[in-house]
């Protein structure tokens, strides 16, 4: 079975769901302000793109999400690597951070809004915060799980701590780091949307929230569809990157690497 047919099957299910949806709307005569049909949502998307009114929202959400994701990701990997290397840091800070992981970072949203204003900065901070924790914990755990015999095999040739970190521990942790990056994609979207719900002039979260006032459910649904698409593309991109970076792991595309 080639990749194209593999992609076809879920698309068939998707078409089925859309068909059921439009049938249900037609058969039960559900009014537009409760549940618009897929056609209405599609029309709203098309007109939104045609008059250009959707682009600023998409752009704002993407910008918040990407910059927050990048900042949170870099911080998580750098801090995770240094924490896994330092015993004192691990003893004093790690349990605290594990405790913090259990608290919903989203709850800090209103506070962050107060601190960083109602513009883009507060959303970026919120996104960075929610992305940070899973990636951070995964980085620390991944580094700690480096096979000790691999480290010994390098130590006997007088490998320095820096060499061990960069050439052995980090590549060895790459699988877990990517798992953290993967979780981070959906968390970044959640962070951006929640930030926009709270207060914004732009963004898909703002679009959904503000359309609820005028009960235009078709617009709200088109916002959700666009968010889903962004999440899907992000997750696919990370998956693709993972196959490229961790080419040595079983299941990775071996035949492409030579």
């Amino acid at each position: 079975m080639n990749r194209l047919t593999a992609m076809l099957y879920p698309l068939i299910s998707l078409a089925g769901v859309i068909l059921l949806w439009s049938l249900a709307v037609a058969v039960f005569a559900i009014p537009d302000y409760v549940l618009p049909g897929p056609c209405a949502v599609f029309q709203s998307l098309v007109s939104g793109f045609a008059d250009g009114s959707l682009w600023p929202h998409i752009g704002a959400t993407l910008a918040e999400m990407l910059s927050g994701y990048f900042i949170g990701g870099v911080l998580a990997i750098v801090l995770g690597a240094s924490l896994a290397e330092s015993q004192t840091f691990e003893r004093f800070v790690y349990p605290l951070l594990i405790g913090l992981q259990a608290t919903p970072k989203i709850a800090l949203g209103p506070i962050i809004l107060v601190w960083f204003g109602f513009g883009m900065a507060s959303k970026v901070v919120l996104v960075a915060l929610v992305c940070f924790f899973p990636l951070f914990v995964n980085t620390v755990n991944g580094i700690r799980r480096t096979p000790p015999e691999l480290l010994d095999a390098c130590r006997v040739f007088s490998a320095s701590r820096w060499y061990l970190l960069v050439h052995v521990k980090l590549p060895s942790a790459a699988g877990e780091i990517f798992a953290g990056l993967q979780i981070g994609v959906s968390l970044a979207l959640i962070g951006a949307v929640v930030g926009e719900f709270l207060s914004a002039q732009r963004g898909l979260g703002y679009l959904i929230a503000s359309s609820s006032v005028s009960m235009s459910l078709a617009t709200m649904f088109s916002g959700v569809v666009l968010l889903a698409l962004i999440g899907l593309c992000g997750a696919q991109f990370i998956r693709w990157l993972q196959r490229r970076v961790i080419f040595w792991e079983p299941g990775a595309a071996r035949n492409t690497q030579r």
Partner: protein
């Protein structure tokens, strides 16, 4: 001339939750320059601990360890090590894996590359220099490990059951290959094994260890002519030596 490796009254005691465990008791051994010494013992007797001590990965609780007259205080540039598992870095090519000691010991890149290629030639893997370890068989990976061990031209080779995880055929060919490499380069070797035949076939001298706490209970010189071949395995003298050593392990 001082011994390539010497252990004087070395003991190792581990602290565990159930109290102190004595892994090694009072080990005295020495390896002369150019000598091939096999250390034979049942599993868990502490033979790998001796190798870790010599490699500088572990420090002894008692006694003194010397490499060419200098006390060992950590990993040094005069030893090369291979383990039971090849332990190659999966994200580096075969060539880069062989070059690892050059990177960690800061050797000049140009000559190191040339030497790495020559060593890959020596172990028959020159065409695979640009491949990754996962593309090689277990025996080939262990050959890469041997090339890596030799890169920085160490005086003492420490080998911890290097062929134990291989299938019988790769094991045989690598044993012959190791003898060939050793006869070309004449390094001092400490070869740890639990195979009596392997020990007798390769070594100038076999040291037998007792179960824990490990002690050396016999030293047996092997005077079979070199190079030894597969024919040696059928030599009555070879079988007699193996029989003699086997007595240490059959009393249970």
């Amino acid at each position: 001339m001082s011994a390539a490796l010497a252990l004087h009254g070395v003991g190792v005691t581990y602290a565990t939750r159930r109290g102190a465990i004595e892994a090694l008791a009072d080990i005295d051994l020495s390896i002369q320059p150019g000598e091939f010494v096999a250390l034979l013992g049942p599993s868990g007797c502490g033979k790998s601990t001796i190798l870790k001590l010599a490699a500088g990965l572990l420090s002894a609780s008692r006694g003194r360890i010397e490499l060419a007259g200098h006390t060992v205080s950590g990993p040094g540039r005069h030893t090369g090590v291979v383990f039971q598992k090849p332990n190659l870095l999966p994200w580096k090519t075969v060539l880069d894996n062989v070059l690892l000691p050059a990177r960690t010991l800061d050797l000049p890149t140009g000559p190191a590359r040339e030497r790495a290629m020559a060593l890959l030639e020596l172990v028959g893997l020159a065409p695979f220099a640009k491949d990754y370890p996962f593309e090689l068989s277990g025996g080939m990976q262990q050959r890469v490990g041997i090339a890596r061990m030799l890169l920085h031209d160490p005086d003492l080779l420490l080998m911890d059951e290097p062929f134990a995880a291989l299938d019988a055929l790769s094991r045989e060919s690598l044993t012959l290959e190791l003898q060939r490499i050793w006869s070309q380069h004449r390094k001092s070797v400490l070869f740890i094994t639990h195979s009596i035949q392997e020990a007798v076939f390769l070594a100038d001298r076999v040291l037998v260890m007792s179960p824990r706490p490990g002690r050396i209970i016999e030293q047996l010189p092997i005077c079979l002519a070199r190079p030894r071949t597969l024919g040696t395995l059928a030599d009555p003298e070879f079988t007699a030596l193996c029989q003699h050593l086997r007595r240490h392990f059959t009393h249970e």
